[in-house]
């Protein structure tokens, strides 16, 4: 096991990793920017290192400063959390060159799965269905038109280095393709520094279902079941739940098998999720693999009682999975929602948290690094809290989550709480399942989002 882990992240996920370190008896180092010296992660870790000025590229994305912090403080591993450097193959490689373990999959897994068209080809070859699309990144718009005409509209144009719902453009007909192409290209360049795009057939009424897996260095693989993340707003997951409503045993077994094939196709190790679109007839298609601990990892944790963050650390330290598939049992139902800031203001907009109260009670889990008095940069609508409810049944979990959200106080910062409240009270959601465009299509609900 490692002796000291540097956490190259901030916010709730940094706290989550600090907690796992403490339980494992491993020391933790938080990194922070000059603006974050009093942030909760910087206060709760065993050590704190300021790595640079506020701009992320100078601090949380400043690879030399982060590596130097780890080396000068005697860390032996780096946990990247999610986002920031988590799926950056160059960073993982730099860690290894510096003699630091990267807590995540191998460099090659990040590179293979991070190149989305390539991941599609690999997974398809392993026997998992993908949506009709372009096998390679497209040279130009004319190339895109040719492929789109061949597979038929609507078409989704996607950034080749994308993921997480960013760098996407929808074209319902040939006239809209140029705009969608430009959107994906620009967003890909801006968010991922890569303007390559590819296209895929767009499914209008599909559900987003993903399977949690974990594999050790000897490629022993265990899955922790599926979760539904179809309630999305601007292509960001708002609500995640498990088990997925209306997925029968046969379909679940197929999804799990496909996930194992996808992971095994690259010899994947550590925690990861395999994402699928499931159409109303039960046909399913691989969309991408997330090669890191996911925002939604608390959902399978609630059902199985397995600590995925600790497991990821153990696997990275070279331990064999002390877990067999038959030992993984899911109990009850879990629903989690993301509470984030909302803002139409410019990139420099900020708000100060006047008051913060996290709900509690039986079956409630809140992951948040928010503190009263803290100033939040609103750009990018940052995640403020994740609230999860676990119950014996879906009805019980939903009731608990509604009650918890009614208790949650975040004063001073504009949030999506009103929207979440309406979503969770909606009879269609209570009946379930819904598809990925349900919320956007739902006029009254969407209005609540402003």
């Amino acid at each position: 096991m490692f002796t000291k882990i540097l956490i190259a992240n901030r916010g709730e996920i940094a706290l989550r990793v600090i907690r796992a370190c403490r339980e494992l008896g491993v020391a933790s180092i938080a990194v922070c920017s000059t603006a974050d010296r009093d942030a909760l992660h910087a206060r709760l870790a065993d050590e704190r290192v300021c790595v640079g000025p506020e701009a992320p590229e100078d601090s949380y994305l400043n690879v030399p400063a982060i590596l130097s912090a780890a080396l000068s403080r005697g860390a032996d591993a780096i946990h990247p959390g999610y986002g920031l450097l988590a799926e950056n193959g160059d960073f993982a490689e730099a860690c290894e060159r510096s003699g630091l373990a990267f807590i995540g999959p191998r460099v090659r897994h990040l590179r293979l799965m991070g190149d989305k068209p390539r991941a599609r080809r690999i997974v398809e070859k392993a026997g998992v269905r993908v949506l009709p699309g372009s096998p390679e990144p497209l040279a130009d718009l004319a190339d895109a038109r040719t492929v789109a005409d061949a597979i038929g509209y609507p078409i989704l144009v996607k950034a080749a280095a994308g993921g997480g719902g960013r760098g996407l453009g929808v074209a319902r007909d040939a006239d809209a393709l140029a705009a969608a192409f430009a959107v994906a290209r620009t967003e890909g360049e801006r968010a991922f520094g890569n303007n390559l795009v590819y296209v895929e057939r767009y499914l209008e009424r599909a559900r987003h279902v993903e399977v949690q897996i974990v594999a050790d260095r000897d490629r022993r693989l265990v899955h922790l079941g599926e979760r539904d993340c179809s309630v999305q707003w601007r292509r960001q997951k708002l609500v995640s739940e498990a088990p997925a409503v209306g997925i029968d045993r046969r379909l679940r077994a197929q999804l799990v098998e496909a996930s194992a094939l996808a992971a095994e196709a690259v010899g994947y190790t550590n925690v990861g999720s395999v994402e699928f679109l499931v159409d109303p007839d039960g046909g399913f298609y691989f969309i991408e693999m997330n090669t890191r601990v996911q925002v939604e990892h608390a959902v399978p944790e609630a059902l199985t009682g397995i600590d995925l963050v600790q497991l990821g650390i153990r696997v990275a330290a070279g331990e064999a999975l002390a877990l067999e598939q038959k030992q993984v049992t899911a109990r009850g139902h879990a629903i989690e929602c993301r509470v984030h800031a909302v803002s139409d203001a410019g990139p420099g907009a900020r708000a100060t948290v006047a008051a913060f109260h996290a709900p509690g009670g039986l079956g409630i889990r809140v992951e948040s690094a928010l503190q009263a008095g803290e100033t939040v940069a609103l750009a990018g609508e940052p995640l403020l809290a994740k609230v999860l409810a676990h119950g014996a049944t879906r009805e019980e979990a939903l009731a608990r989550l509604r009650a918890a959200l009614a208790e949650l106080v975040i004063d001073g910062v504009p949030t999506n709480l009103a929207l979440l409240g309406r979503v969770l009270a909606d009879p269609e959601l209570a009946r379930g399942p819904v598809h990925t465009n349900w919320l956007e299509d739902h006029a009254e609900l969407a209005r609540a989002a402003g």
């Binding site: 000059t34 300021c50 790595v51 000068s72």
Partner: protein
């Protein structure tokens, strides 16, 4: 942890104890003047960390006593308002000398010229020279040799001349 290389003990003039209220008052005044929010200083075997909070007066926190006196704030370099902090431009390990057996680049009380090397910060196995940004007298060395430093951490207090 990085192995700590301590500068050899040098004969030093007697210093007033850091925890002397008069000395503390000077340090807090200096922090106010220079806008420092945190200052860790070692002298006469004492180490004191001062953290300025939201209240007007800084909070004082003693972080322990070092085994032997290694350096002292010289009488003639008594801290005056107007001293400015040289902060670390990077994350790494603080080295007062080019090598363990060579003398430190500067001592408290030394007059340094603009551009003169004050210390090295080791980052990613690279030694980076930190230079004085202005001519002045070294009023305090805020970090112990061999200790890891963070971005923006005060390394030296220098009174401009």
């Amino acid at each position: 942890m990085t192995s700590r290389r301590r500068a050899p003990a040098r004969p030093t003039p007697p210093a007033r104890a850091l925890l002397d209220p008069r000395e503390l008052k000077k340090l807090t005044a200096l922090m106010e003047e220079s806008g420092l929010v945190e200052l860790e200083i070692e002298s006469g075997g004492e180490r004191v960390r001062l953290v300025r909070g939201r209240l007007a007066a800084p909070a004082v926190e003693s972080v322990g006593t070092t085994a032997a006196p290694t350096r002292a704030v010289r009488r003639e370099a008594e801290l005056e308002s107007g001293a400015r902090a040289i902060t670390s431009p990077m994350v790494g390990t603080f080295h007062r000398a080019a090598a363990p057996e060579t003398p430190a680049f500067v001592e408290v009380g030394d007059v340094v010229e603009r551009g003169q090397v004050l210390c090295l910060i080791e980052a990613m196995k690279m030694m980076n020279e930190i230079e004085a940004e202005f001519r002045g007298r070294v009023a305090a060395i805020a970090v112990e040799n061999g200790r890891p430093v963070e971005y923006g951490e005060p390394l030296f207090l220098i009174e401009p001349l």
